[in-house]
């Protein structure tokens, strides 16, 4: 796997620095193949790798474990900790089987490790060995209890506690837990004179009845830690005790190709006294991918492919390891496809690693249909299809003429305009005609309509709480922002800092739709940071960096938003239904109260934790500046990830509004490059859309090849999806030339242009096909699932039937114009499928029409079949 072969490798672009990282990653992964196989007799041990690379001990009886990996001459690596021999070269430590090293006396020495002809030296240092190092509550006692499950949400970590004992969730609050365990009930849980008779131990060992049963056995290592702590007086950690400074997890990122499917994680704690501790058997592990399992000692195993973040947590720190398990795919041989732009260079590197060959590029008619649907939410007209197909064909002929004898299938186009000669098997494509078409689409008013709809979904633009006038104003403001190509950072700032009347100053509706500081914090995080914060409302998120403090200090940003106006309720049973004008302003005071402390919470910027200047009048202003600062990666990533999702059918992070450490992007390098490029181009929506649509990655066919049929995550082919509700209804109206009529909007309004879903009597077709009610900020509220009900609606439902029967529809027009059957059939195919009928289709269809007594009815049947075809219903 030489990277130099890759055409994109030397290209300048947003991926350049990330590329260097990828190179390192590749080097790192090679020796780990076949991790689980026994050592073949003929393979020699090249070297031994040890982890941690050195040990520092403090205190009497200190003990650590070292893991040994043998790197073989075949390039493969194997965990040999259990089989290696360990010998202490000095008197200050003892070393034993299984990598156990124990401190004996102060000094500096080495441990020699041997396996299969390989040798490694572990430097060790022992200090203060005379004095017993006290058991730490935070670093020894709580981790033991957390691992035993005592403080999990279903047990004592529950908001209610269990059996009268309430601990913080997974030990997130050591101070309070110490009080509860050591002090509450007059210290009844501990027996200092006879530690073994402490209630804490009796319960955990099930010596007395315990709802949670046996957590660990008498005499187990866990038991000894707790017992020693009690015997030492059950002390809280001293102020000067060593603190955990850093948690180090390795490997951070690794790709394992079958048959390798196991990876041991190394977890090291760096403490403030300089000691390094092996925490592999003290940390807790979590992985969200059911295809990947982790045991209690940090051994990760994947089955048949998977891409998972394993979250490692110890005390107050957490780190992630990103592991990808790749099936071997016999006979796979990567063929480098041409890169149209830097997106392809980055994505192809990922695909090569995952052994996925990208699909061929889409044909011209597949492309034009997809481009219209994705950018505009409408179908191209027959004239537009004919024009584009003609231009594309001309470009191809010109290219063939220029290339002389070059074989047709051997050319593509580099993103910088240079031709890259490859052997990529693909249809001849037409890069100039496609780029020109994309530029044209970006200027069309339908682009503004369609992207307004997307923003209106996210901002939950609906009439129940905004009232029709407010909703219309809000929608027009969004649309005007898109028409003007308002940079998305400015768009976000205008929303977040809005004041004034919900009628006259439309972005103020942001504060009308979402009405409490807590909801505003949540909504803002989900919409603009792509982060779901709800978990942190009640407790520190157990697997995320978001804490409960973060949640309330973000809410505090919105504590002084004030609403004035007489709102009436149109429906006395619906407390959310509000009518009338409202004015958003700022109060002079107002704070958010932390539910745990009962104290007001100071507003802080997320992640950085920086407190706001207390004198600032509008807290939202510094927040909005922080959010949209070019050096803030979260905003740009969240935005480009959404745009990518709209065009590709799947986010790089999926779901799109769930960016978090334990839900890794399918291609981190690509997401970062897109975000940088977005920030560098003044947060311009059209720029991102243009860049993505011009990539070969976007233009790939949906049809799979032999390697990528199951891939719907790494963008090796286009994802076929049913058209969204509004687009489908508009497409049916367009193809039949029978526009749909909607209540309370001017005639000719398309479904995509509707300001909001109707409050009552929502269009049944739209609802059936997944139009969201805009109740949730979650992108997932819009569904494109197929159901039996949808099939009924298309086969026998009234909407399509009515349009087919309308006398003045497309069929009626063509008949009146005196067109022949052949002309009409051709026109219907172009309108519905963006292609001419193929010969068997022409013959079959003409024969059908000729054989029916009622010509018009027969043509209705033809159009019915076109609309019901998979080729019509799917964006592919």
């Amino acid at each position: 796997m030489k990277l130099g072969e890759h055409p994109g490798a030397q290209r300048e672009g947003p991926g350049t620095t990330a590329h260097a990282r990828m190179r390192m990653l590749l080097r790192g992964c090679l020796p780990l193949w076949l991790l689980t196989l026994p050592l073949p007799m003929e393979a020699a041990v090249t070297r031994l790798e040890i982890s941690p690379p050195a040990l520092k001990f403090y205190g009497k009886g200190a003990r650590e474990r070292v893991f040994v990996t043998a790197v073989l001459s075949t390039g493969r690596a194997e965990d040999v900790t259990a089989r290696a021999s360990f010998r202490s070269l000095g008197a200050c430590v003892q070393a034993g089987a299984g990598g156990s090293v124990a401190a004996v006396r102060d000094g500096t020495s080495q441990v020699e490790i041997r396996y299969g002809g390989g040798r490694a030296i572990l430097p060790v240092q022992v200090a203060r060995s005379a004095g017993e190092q006290p058991v730490s509550f935070q670093y020894d006692v709580l981790p033991v209890m957390t691992r035993a499950g005592c403080s999990q949400g279903t047990c004592h970590g529950n908001a209610e506690g269990k059996g009268g004992l309430k601990l913080s969730l997974k030990g997130e609050d050591p101070g309070r837990d110490y009080e509860v365990i050591a002090r509450h009930g007059g210290g009844r849980r501990l027996n200092h004179l006879e530690p073994g008779r402490s209630l804490l131990l009796l319960k955990a060992t099930s010596a007395v009845p315990h709802g949670g049963g046996l957590r660990f056995a008498t005499g187990s290592p866990e038991y000894r830690v707790l017992g020693r702590w009690i015997a030492e007086g059950a002390r809280a950690d001293a102020a000067g005790a060593p603190r955990l400074v850093r948690l180090e997890v390795s490997p951070r990122q690794r790709v394992l190709v079958e048959p390798a499917r196991m990876q041991r994680l190394t977890v090291l704690g760096h403490f403030s006294d300089g000691s390094i501790r092996n925490l592999a058997q003290k940390a807790i592990y979590n992985c969200g991918d059911p295809m990947v399992g982790v045991d209690a000692d940090g051994r990760v195993e994947g089955r048949g492919g998977g891409d998972a973040a394993v979250l490692v947590r110890y005390a107050d720190r957490m780190e992630n390891a990103f592991l990808t398990f790749v099936p071997v795919r016999k006979g796979f041989a990567w063929k480098t496809p041409p890169a149209y732009n830097w997106i392809d260079s980055i994505n192809d590197r990922r695909l090569k690693l995952l052994r996925l060959q990208p699909s061929r590029p889409a044909s011209d008619s597949e492309f034009i249909r997809r481009a219209y649907l994705d950018a505009l939410g409408v179908l191209p007209t027959p004239e537009e299809v004919r024009t584009f197909l003609g231009e594309a064909a001309a470009e191809r002929q010109e290219e063939v003429r220029k290339q002389g004898n070059e074989e047709m299938g051997k050319w593509g186009n580099g993103g910088n305009g240079k031709a890259a000669i490859t052997s990529f098997p693909h249809f001849p494509i037409s890069p100039m005609a496609r780029a020109k078409l994309i530029d044209q689409l970006l200027k069309r008013p339908e682009f503004d309509d369609y992207w307004t709809l997307k923003w209106a979904d996210i901002l939950r633009l609906e009439e129940r709480s905004l009232d029709p006038k407010g909703a219309a104003a809000y929608q027009q403001w969004i649309r005007a922002s898109i028409v003007q190509s308002k940079p998305l950072d400015q768009f976000a700032r205008e929303l977040l800092t809005a004041t004034g009347s919900t009628y006259a100053s439309p972005p103020a509706n942001y504060y009308r739709r979402t009405r409490t500081p807590a909801d505003l914090g949540e909504t803002t995080a989900q919409v603009f940071l792509g982060t779901r914060m709800l978990c942190a409302k009640c407790h520190n998120h157990p697997f995320e960096r978001w804490s409960q403090d973060d949640y309330y200090s973000l809410a505090a940003i919105f504590a002084r938003v004030e609403r004035k106006g007489e709102l009436t309720r149109r429906d006395q049973f619906d407390k959310h239904e509000l009518s009338g004008e409202e004015t958003i302003g700022l109060a002079k005071e107002g704070e958010v109260t932390h539910p745990r402390t009962g104290q007001p919470v100071a507003p802080r910027l997320p992640r950085s934790g920086r407190a706001l200047d207390p004198s600032v009048e509008d807290r939202r202003v510094p927040f909005a500046s922080w959010l949209t600062a070019p050096e803030n990666p979260f905003f740009a990533k969240a935005m480009v990830n959404r745009i990518w999702y709209y065009l590709m059918g799947k986010g790089i992070v999926d779901p799109v509004d769930d960016l978090r450490d334990s839900n890794p992007p399918s291609n981190a390098e690509l997401l970062e490059a897109l975000a940088r490029d977005f920030a560098a181009h003044r947060y311009d929506l059209r720029h991102v859309v243009r860049t993505i649509m011009n990539s070969r990655t976007y233009q790939a066919a949906s049809e799979p090849n032999g390697t990528n049929a199951e891939d719907e995550r790494f963008f090796s082919r286009a994802i076929a999806q049913r058209m969204p509700a509004e687009v489908l209804l508009d497409a049916i109206s367009q193809v039949t030339e029978a526009p749909e009529k909607f209540a309370n909007v001017p005639e000719g309004t398309r479904a995509v242009q509707l300001p909001a879903p109707a409050v009552r009597g929502r269009h049944p077709f739209l609802r059936l096909f997944g139009q969201p009610g805009r109740e949730s900020v979650c992108e997932c509220e819009r569904t494109n699932e197929t159901t039996l009900g949808q099939s009924f609606a298309l086969i026998s439902g009234g909407v399509l039937d009515g349009k087919l029967k309308r006398p003045d529809n497309r069929i009626g027009r063509l008949l009146t114009a005196g067109k022949t059957d052949a002309e009409i059939v051709s026109e219907l195919y172009l309108a519905a499928l963006s292609r001419e009928p193929q010969r068997p289709e022409v013959e079959g269809t003409l024969k059908y029409v000729a054989g029916k007594p009622d010509r018009r009815a027969a043509l209705e049947d033809v159009l019915w079949a076109l609309v019901n075809s998979k080729e019509f219903l799917l964006r592919r």
């Binding site: 059911p290 049809e703 079949a865």
Partner: protein, 463 residues
């Protein structure tokens, strides 16, 4: 109510992995990079062949009543009037028509049909968040982790009904598997409600309307004016010609799903039986009243009408109209049960059992009543009971199952099984066995790996 996660979810995973080969296979299902769809089709055909010639069937169909949120076993069929004081509830038990079997005083109609019912008082598992055990109870397969975020992905196991649709499909014009009246969810959609890796064509026919509403009907089941069945057939042949032209589209899951639904819709449109079954107005008002004019009651009645025309399995979720849970009585356990949940249940379910018996259908219809877990023996500060998967009760009736029978027992507080503990795996095995499907039958996932469909049946429950 998203409870927090299990700290050692992945350790749990390993524990379940060690438990048995079957569980190992369950959790290690499909990855991102499985086998191709033709492989799936072959696997299905093999499964269908393997499913033939199982044990003799004692039931033709199943009515699966799922109480979403976790019904309290201690206020229904496993009362502990002599239990510890802090766990004793406010309701009293009453005798039933079977000596020795008591039920809650709020279930007087149930008391008169216990001779038709097997009570299983020792169901037990270890998943305490709603979604994972919700999935477990619908599929008979332990979830890979006890995490509220358990995602509805195609590597998780399908609903019982989808497996039945593969192994014992109803005639094509009849849906095999109907589910109503909502899709259950706790934040996200609960996995295990559809066909998952078996493919969309085995998904349930979802009725997402309230059968108790006067507007309830399936307008889709009628053809518009001017569209004769013959003309529909003509149109279908045109459509087949078109779809054949782009044969490659068969390899796209989205395309296959569309086609499967279209096929089914065509078949149902040409059958009047289905249309009539959905017309609850065909039922005498007295019968409708007997089931209760509630969403649950009318759903249960509709379930009976559907199995009468040959639907194999109808799942009725007792949930709120949006699919949220209704039995999750962390607060005000007693008034909730007394004023709403138990009266509705006591009207619908005993009526169903008597109605089936009168029509001679009880012997061939297996009725199952369960939820995802029970409730804590100890009553909490808000007079509620919390989640308790360690021990709960479910009911089975008809379809060859003993009546007036109690299987398994819990301890004095209703906290742990003390006799014959069973898991949802065994319930699934029992149901398949009743349908004459060998629970060891293998189905194959997207990676072509074989899985037995369920655990061992509880043979003691059969007559």
């Amino acid at each position: 109510m998203a409870r927090s996660q299990n700290s050692i979810a992945c350790a749990d995973f390993w524990r379940s992995r060690r438990a048995s080969r079957r569980e190992l296979l369950t959790v290690g299902t499909v990855g991102l990079m499985g086998l191709t769809l033709p492989g799936l089709l072959q696997a299905e055909a093999a499964a269908r062949a393997a499913g033939k010639g199982g044990p003799a069937a004692t039931a033709k169909s199943v009515i699966f009543l799922y109480q979403w949120g976790g019904p309290s076993h201690l206020e229904t069929f496993d009362m502990k009037p002599d239990g510890p004081e802090e766990s004793r509830g406010q309701f009293k038990p009453i005798p039933s028509n079977v000596p020795g079997i008591q039920v809650c005083e709020l279930l007087p109609r149930f008391a008169q049909v216990m001779d038709k019912v097997s009570v299983i008082r020792s169901v037990s598992h270890r998943f305490g968040n709603h979604n994972p055990p919700g999935y477990y109870g619908l599929t008979g397969h332990a979830p890979p982790l006890d995490d509220q975020r358990l995602r509805d992905t195609p590597d998780l196991f399908p609903h019982y009904g989808s497996v039945i649709d593969v192994l014992r499909p109803a005639p094509r014009e009849i849906p095999t598997f109907v589910a109503m009246p909502a899709v259950i969810r706790d934040g996200s959609v609960v996995p295990g409600q559809h066909a998952s890796f078996l493919g969309k064509q085995h998904d349930p026919l979802l009725i997402l309307q309230d059968p108790n509403s006067p507007e309830f009907k399936l307008p889709e089941l009628s053809l518009p004016g001017g569209l004769t069945p013959e003309r529909l057939q003509d149109r279908r042949s045109l459509l087949q010609m078109l779809d054949k032209q782009v044969g490659l589209m068969d390899r796209l899951p989205a395309a296959r799903g569309l086609e499967a639904y279209h096929e089914r819709a065509f078949a149902m449109l040409s059958s009047p039986k289905v249309k009539e079954a959905f017309d609850l107005n065909k039922e005498p008002a007295s019968v409708r009243d007997a089931y209760g004019r509630t969403m649950y009651g009318q759903s249960v009645l509709l379930a009976r009408r559907l199995i009468e025309i040959g639907v194999r399995i109808v799942t009725v979720y007792y949930c709120n109209p949006g699919g949220g849970f209704i039995w999750d009585t962390h607060k005000n356990n007693f008034p909730e049960l007394k004023n709403k949940l138990l009266p509705t249940t006591d009207q619908a379910v005993p009526t169903l059992l008597s109605d089936l018996a009168q029509r001679g259908l009880l012997d061939e219809t297996l009725v199952i009543w369960t939820g995802e877990f029970g409730r804590t023996p100890k009553i909490n500060k808000e007079a509620g009971r919390d989640h308790w998967p360690q021990c709960y009760t479910m009911l089975m009736a008809g379809g060859g199952i003993k009546g007036g029978y109690v299987y398994g027992a819990s301890d004095g507080a209703g906290a742990y099984p003390v006799e014959n503990p069973v898991k949802p795996d065994h319930i699934g095995g029992t149901m398949y066995r009743a349908l004459g499907i060998d629970p060891h039958t293998e189905i194959r996932d997207l990676q072509d790996r074989p899985f037995p469909i369920a655990g061992e049946p509880i043979l003691d429950l059969f007559r």
